[in-house]
Structure formats: structure tokens, C-alpha cells
């Protein structure tokens, strides 16, 4: 008997690839021998675009780098400009930004929970997760006029004062019990356990070698969260979720626990915002904005791992070079390693558990 291997295209139109990711799998029966990700279907030239337009023209586009967590990329670009010009943010602006970032993180994780369970064949959690996500998106729509591309953070502050705090209060009072509900349905579900426990094992050394960050790294037991040293989160009291298992189940559990931590952070921001006076901020005039010549670097803990921005300025009104680092890009690279030796039906569960989003990969 001869053993034949063959190649299988997973994607780019497969629904569980969350966008347009093509994986060329080499199979022997159902066993995966090698995996070659093919990306670039969503490339929009984000970095090249930055070199041709001014900073304020570029600001609305950066939400689209990760359309599920746009706030984080706005924050990065604002931070670059603020650091370069030495602008200190008022406490109220910090609290507003933290609250919106964490709401955005919850919305992103909720979508992931729904989509991940959908990948595994469970349809109902998708609707539950979207029901709660809808509350957050409605709030964002009320506040910023947009459901996903907020463009709310501007250089030196936020576009307008925070409002509709009652909605946020309602969201965070409902969310913990809803998360309990998800956990009742999913966490100890025997089918879910069989499909995720021990699947897609990722140890710390491999994760660091592949530069995987964010929840995927913390679910492998590494204590690394840039929110701790982030000046925006100064004064907030929160825990960092670290699990030791390193399998797909741990990555699910870590995201669920992280949502609870985010609710906790929003609570603190909300308490502060309720008693704080009207917003007073000094916005940076974006017209003819020039950064002093030099290199600038900023990073933030985005839902899909460490996101960072590098800007080299030559003193003109456009960056000479702007580079984004996104978490998903390295998670996709990890698929080359993590899928080898697994079975085809687990490939969906493992790739889904890494929370990859393709606009972030292709930039």
C-alpha cells in the first residue's frame, strides 16, 4: 500500500476563516502534514497611504485596520502625535478613552465567542453574543454616530464630551450575568470540551519564538500585558488573566475572563466620569500639523495581541514612514507550526481559537 498525500485549499471563501484567509494544507488522510497560509486578499496599502496624506487625513482610516476594534488603532496614532508634541492628557480624557477601549474590547471578544462557537457547529451562542454586542454598538452609535468606525479619538483628546452614561451603566450591569449564561452553555459542555481540550497546544517558548502576544500568549502561562505599564491605565485597578493550559479551551476561557476584567475597569472609569466636571481639553490643531524630526513608537494591548505603531518623521506634515504591528499577523504565521500533526476537523477549532482577523493581517 502506498501512502499518498494531497493538498487542500481551506478558504479563502470558507466561512470559518473569518474574512479571506487561504490555508494550503498538505494532508495525509485527514492528518495535516504542513500548512501554508496565503494572505493579502484584503491589502489596502495602509502604510503607503500614510506617506501621501497628512496626519489628520489619515486618522479616520486607521479604524479600518481592525474593524472590530477600531478604537485601539485610533488611540495608537493619537498617542504617536501626542508623544511627539509632548501633550499630557487630562484625567477625564484618559478615563473616557479607557472606558471606550474596554467597551470595544468586550464587543470584539463577544463577536469572537459567537464566531468561534459557530465554527464548532453551535449556532445559538452566536445569537446570544450578538445580542449583547448590539447593546455596545448602539451605545457607540449614539455617542459617535458610527457603529464600528468611530473616529472618536482625536489628537490631544476626544471629539466631544462623553454622554449617555446611563447606557454604559446598563450594559455593565447586564453583561456579567450574560457572561455567566454563556459559561453555563459552553464552558463545561462535553461536546465543546472534546473539541477544544488539549487541541492546538501552544507552549510559552513556541509562543514567544513566533512573537504571539495578547490572550493567546497569556493563555499559555506568560504574564505579559502592556496595559500594566500603560499611562492610560494608570490609577486603574485590574487583574491580568493568565492560564497555564495553552490549549484552545484555555484561550476561550481567558477571553471570557478578560471580559469580566474589562467590565471591572469600565466600572472604575464610569464612577470617575459620573462625578467629573464637564470636559476641558486642549486639542492639537491638526491643520498643517508637523511632527519634529525623529522616530516615534507607541504600543497598546489590543484584543488580538500587541499592536504598535512606528513613525519616522522628517519634520514634514506627512510621515516619512509609518509601520503597524498587529497581533493577528503573527498568529497567522503560527498556523504553520500549530496545525502540523493535527486533524483537519480540529484545524477549524484551532485556527478559530487564535482569534485571527484578516484586515489586521493584510493592513
Amino acid at each position: 500500500m502506498t501512502i499518498t498525500t494531497f493538498k487542500l485549499n481551506l478558504g479563502p471563501q470558507h466561512p470559518s476563516t473569518h474574512g479571506v484567509l487561504r490555508l494550503v494544507l498538505e494532508l495525509e488522510g485527514e492528518k495535516i502534514l504542513s500548512c501554508e497560509p496565503d494572505i493579502g486578499y484584503l491589502h489596502r496599502g495602509m502604510e503607503k497611504m500614510a506617506e501621501r496624506i497628512s496626519y489628520i487625513q489619515y486618522l479616520p482610516t486607521v479604524d479600518r485596520i481592525d474593524y472590530l476594534a477600531g478604537c485601539f488603532y485610533s488611540e495608537l496614532l493619537c498617542r504617536i502625535v501626542e508623544n511627539a508634541l509632548g501633550v499630557e492628557l487630562p484625567d477625564k480624557v484618559r478615563a473616557i478613552r479607557v472606558m471606550l477601549l474596554e467597551l470595544n474590547r468586550i464587543a470584539s471578544h463577544l463577536l469572537w465567542v459567537g464566531a468561534f462557537l459557530m465554527d464548532l457547529g453551535a449556532v445559538s451562542p452566536f445569537f446570544y453574543a450578538f445580542r449583547e454586542r448590539e447593546m455596545i454598538l448602539r451605545y457607540f452609535e449614539k455617542l459617535t454616530g458610527q457603529r464600528m468606525m468611530y473616529n472618536y479619538f482625536v489628537f490631544g483628546g476626544v471629539r466631544k464630551d462623553i454622554d449617555y452614561l446611563g447606557d454604559v451603566e446598563e450594559i455593565i450591569s447586564i453583561l456579567p450575568e450574560k457572561i455567566d449564561d454563556y459559561e453555563k452553555i459552553i464552558t463545561e459542555n462535553p461536546i465543546f470540551l472534546r473539541r477544544t481540550k488539549g487541541k492546538g497546544m501552544l507552549d510559552i517558548d513556541t509562543a514567544l519564538n513566533y512573537a504571539v502576544t495578547g490572550v493567546n500568549l497569556r493563555a499559555s502561562g506568560m504574564d505579559y500585558d502592556t496595559r500594566r505599564s500603560d499611562y492610560l491605565y494608570r490609577g486603574f485597578d485590574f487583574g491580568v488573566v493568565i492560564l497555564d493550559e495553552g490549549d484552545a479551551w484555555a484561550r476561550y476561557k481567558a477571553r471570557i475572563m478578560e471580559m469580566r476584567e474589562s467590565v471591572n475597569i469600565i466600572h472604575q472609569a464610569l464612577e470617575y466620569l459620573k462625578i467629573s466636571p464637564a470636559l476641558e481639553q486642549k486639542l492639537i490643531n491638526p491643520v498643517n500639523l508637523k511632527l519634529p524630526a525623529g522616530d516615534y513608537y507607541a504600543e497598546i494591548e489590543a484584543p488580538r495581541g500587541l499592536a504598535s505603531c512606528f513613525v519616522r518623521s522628517t519634520g514634514e506634515d506627512k510621515p516619512y514612514r509609518l509601520k503597524w504591528r498587529t497581533g493577528s499577523y503573527y498568529s497567522v504565521n503560527l498556523l504553520r507550526k500549530i496545525l502540523v500533526g493535527e486533524y483537519l476537523n480540529d484545524a477549524i477549532a484551532i485556527a478559530g481559537s487564535l482569534d485571527i482577523i484578516l484586515p489586521e493581517v493584510d493592513k
Binding site: 494572505i39 493579502g40 491589502h43 496599502g45 502604510e47 503607503k48 514567544l208 519564538n209 513566533y210 512573537a211 506568560m222 504574564d223 505579559y224 505599564s229 500587541l306 504598535s308 512606528f310 519616522r312 516619512y320 514612514r321 509601520k323 504591528r325 499577523y329 503573527y330 497567522v332 504565521n333 507550526k337 493584510d362 493592513k363
Partner: protein
């Protein structure tokens, strides 16, 4: 971090804050750094076009033990040694830089067009890339 030992061995390097500017021997430097310091993660490789075919590569390292960032900068002339066997994440970065800047990484077998189509001509993030020139895109060689 104490860099005096490093600067003694690689005496043509410059230290500028947490950035080391080297001229050559990239692999030797990186092997030395990971053997003697606690850097265990290559966060990213940043490429900058310096004009005249030269590209500056900035290797961004991070130590999870000491919570410190460190940058190694090298200016190369079209090609450089790959470090994809030391840090697997470098394979992804090198491929991206090959696609957008045209820098060849010797020793990395998997370099291919990533974002750009396979028959695309030119490297878009270079400063001499001609925008709006139809010769660069999709066309056959007769039009060049």
C-alpha cells in the same frame, strides 16, 4: 542593561539610548545578544527606505523577564542574512519586507510576494516606486 561587554566585542557599534546601530555581522550580534541578555522575543522588524537602494532594518527585541525593549538597527544594500531560524516570527517579517521593499534575506527559502500579486513589478514602499505608472502593474514585459 549593561552594554559595556557588548561594545567591547563589537567595537564598531554605536549605542543610542536603547538602540544599537551596527554596520555588519547581524547574525553574530543577534546570537551574542540572545546568549548574554534576556531578550526572548522579536516583536517586529521595521524597514525604512534610505534611498539609493539602501534599506534600514530595525530589529525590535523584547525581554519578558526585564520588561525592556531594545532595537538593533542595520543599514543594508539590497540583501542581508536571514534570522528566521533563530526567531520564527522573523520569517513573517522578512517576507513582508521582501514584498514591500525588495530586500533579499539570504537563507530564508520561503520569500514570495505576499500582499502584491505574484507578477507585480516594483516594491511599493520604496521611495523611488513610481505611483500611477501602469507599467508596474499586471502588464506583460512588452510595455516596459
Amino acid at each position: 542593561m549593561d552594554w559595556s561587554e557588548f561594545l567591547r566585542i563589537f567595537n564598531d557599534c554605536e549605542l543610542d539610548g536603547n538602540k544599537i546601530i551596527i554596520k555588519s555581522k547581524l547574525r553574530e550580534v543577534i546570537n551574542f545578544v540572545i546568549a548574554n541578555y534576556t531578550y526572548n522575543m522579536l516583536k517586529e522588524i521595521i524597514a525604512n527606505d534610505k534611498g539609493e537602494g539602501k534599506t534600514e532594518l530595525i530589529y525590535h527585541f523584547y525581554s519578558t523577564d526585564d520588561e525592556e525593549d531594545m532595537f538593533i538597527s542595520i543599514t543594508v544594500d539590497g540583501e542581508v542574512e536571514s534570522i528566521a531560524d533563530i526567531f520564527k516570527s522573523a520569517a513573517a517579517d522578512e517576507n513582508e519586507i521582501y514584498d514591500l521593499f525588495g530586500v533579499k534575506f539570504i537563507g530564508n527559502e520561503n520569500l514570495k510576494r505576499l500582499y502584491m500579486p505574484e507578477d507585480w513589478k516594483g516594491f511599493p514602499l520604496r521611495k523611488d516606486y513610481i505611483q500611477d505608472d501602469t507599467r508596474l502593474a499586471w502588464n506583460d514585459d512588452n510595455n516596459v
